[in-house]
């Protein structure tokens, strides 16, 4: 489906892309997906630690974006910031649902817990770090992922989170302190074991 102007969307500015997306252009959505799906996926993956779930939820984010694009107003904030906000909500919903399921099944699978404990010991540094990030509060996770891995500026992170920049800076400090404490405890726990 070609857009109104036969100019390829690959290098189109974001404002035009959003305009096309709002008129339900398939090409525009393909371009938005191509530009941002990996980052949305990465954000969700960091927060959930499950590749397939993150891929599925990343697609859900774009479906939800499609549903809300008519009401989206472009005011210079990157589209990705909006997508991150949707991703944050999608992830939070998923975690709540998963926590409920885990409550139902908790008592039934003692072998499973053992398996996880064994597997824990085999985690490498990278997985330790991801686990430590997932142990942070939701807000702290968001700051760490967006600031340290997605290279977003403090101002953009503040827009995504709907918080003042000062609050984001404070969250960043607390997140780094918590991260350090979790990693240190983890190392000490492994040594004593």
């Amino acid at each position: 489906m070609a857009g109104p102007a036969a100019v390829p969307l690959t290098h189109a500015p974001e404002e035009r892309l959003i305009e096309e997306a709002r008129s339900l252009s398939e090409d525009a959505w393909a371009e938005i997906y191509r530009r941002h799906a990996q980052q949305v996926y990465g954000y969700i993956y960091f927060r959930l630690g499950d590749q397939h779930t993150a891929e599925d939820l990343a697609a859900d984010v774009f479906v939800k974006a499609l549903a809300g694009i008519k009401g989206y107003q472009y005011r210079g904030t990157p589209l990705l910031a909006w997508l991150y906000r949707i991703a944050h909500n999608v992830t939070a919903d998923h975690r709540k649902a998963a926590a409920k399921r885990a409550q139902h099944q908790a008592a039934d699978e003692p072998e499973d817990v053992e398996e996880r404990t064994d597997a824990l010991q085999a985690l490498d540094d990278r997985q330790d770090m991801m686990r430590a990030i997932r142990a942070l509060t939701e807000d702290q996770q968001q700051v760490v992922i967006l600031r340290f891995y997605h290279e977003m500026s403090n101002g953009d992170v503040a827009k995504v989170m709907g918080k003042p920049e000062g609050a984001v800076k404070a969250l960043q400090t607390r997140a780094l302190r918590s991260l350090r404490r979790i990693l240190t405890e983890d190392q000490e726990g492994r040594k004593s074991a």
Binding site: Y33, Q51, A59, H94, Q105, A119, L120, F148, R180
Partner: protein
């Protein structure tokens, strides 16, 4: 005025991200250097754990088909109404034309009805005999046949032609009555609806179906006919009745055959390996280098050029945005 610790850390984070050396960053913040050092070391450790940017995974690229299907479904209402151009509301003159196209036949009908009624009134005034439509006569006559000891032929004024009408109309009336009784209560049933979407949050008797129109809670029970296994992430076609807003009871659930997934794609058990924060994922899932922008090491599909289903689908090269910034 000296800067706060939060400000100093924020500047130091930006400097480290820009490639500056830790010691030189600390040297610029002598007042906070002692407290900054452990946090910046943790930041460096975190950044070392991040993988280098790479392409989108084939499965993620394939998932664009979900988005495309949603776009196509969203296009449907817009295309169904010729007055609407790509979802835009019709302009005033389009609405005016629509009104005019309806008002002309309605006006003609009203005129004919007026002429008919006036004619009938004139006829009554002249003859004193009220012309009764045959259908009304049938309705009046019909119950008399059911009364004991009554006979339709007793009506001396009822002409043969009227009786023939009555017989004919009675047959058609009973035929239509038969049609109505074939689907008793069908009009009272909740409206049936078919949805296509992706399953998530499956919890035994309820799951979430993400469709182009939104997210639906779908309830299944013993009466639901299920084809395939209900699994998070699978696509499904659900037919059922709407019970509340965005809620439906499924009569049938058809799980689409999984296409385009890597061979190692395990069917997730609800709550087992997707639990947030669960550290050891037993699925082949999160490979060490599959963090943002990373290519999965354990997928069996070719890494760099995932099968993308149409020319409009995204290519897998990630546009250089892989795990990077803006």
């Amino acid at each position: 005025m000296s800067e706060s610790f939060d400000d100093a850390l924020d500047r130091a984070v930006d400097a480290l991200r820009g490639g500056e050396h830790l010691e030189s960053v600390l040297a610029r913040h002598p007042r906070h250097a002692g407290a900054l050092r452990p946090l910046l070391e943790t930041l460096q450790q975190a950044r070392r754990a991040a993988p280098e940017a790479a392409a989108m995974s084939p499965r993620l690229a394939d998932h664009f088909s979900i988005v495309r299907a949603a776009v196509q479904r969203a296009q449907m209402p817009a295309q169904a109404s010729p007055a609407c151009d790509a979802g835009q509301p019709p302009s005033w003159w389009q609405r005016r034309l629509t009104f005019a196209s309806l008002s002309v036949p309605m006006g003609a009908f009203a005129l004919l009805a007026f002429v008919g009624v006036s004619g009938a009134a004139a006829s009554i005034a002249v003859t004193g005999d009220v012309p009764v439509p045959s259908a009304v006569v049938d309705l009046v006559k019909k119950p008399q046949h059911w009364l004991p000891g009554t006979n339709g032929s007793d009506h001396g004024n009822a002409s043969d032609s009227r009786q023939q009408h009555a017989a004919g109309d009675g047959a058609s009336a009973s035929a239509s009555a038969g049609t109505a009784t074939e689907t008793p209560g069908s009009e009272n049933k909740p409206s049936l609806m078919t949805l296509d979407g992706t399953i998530s949050d499956f919890r035994g008797d309820v799951f979430t179906l993400t469709t182009a129109d939104g997210v639906y809670k779908v309830n299944v029970d013993g009466t639901t006919k299920i084809t395939g296994a209900i699994t998070d992430g699978k696509k499904a076609t659900v037919t059922g009745s709407v019970t509340a807003e965005k809620n439906m009871h499924a009569d049938t659930v058809d799980i689409a055959a999984d296409t385009g997934s890597p061979a190692n794609e395990a069917t997730p058990t609800p709550g087992s390996d997707k639990t947030p924060g669960s550290p050891a994922d037993r699925t082949p899932g999160p490979p060490a280098d599959h963090t943002p922008g990373a290519q999965p090491t354990k997928t069996t599909a070719p890494p760099a050029t995932p099968a993308v289903q149409s020319g409009s689908a995204p290519n897998a090269n990630g546009n250089g945005n892989g795990g990077g910034g803006q």
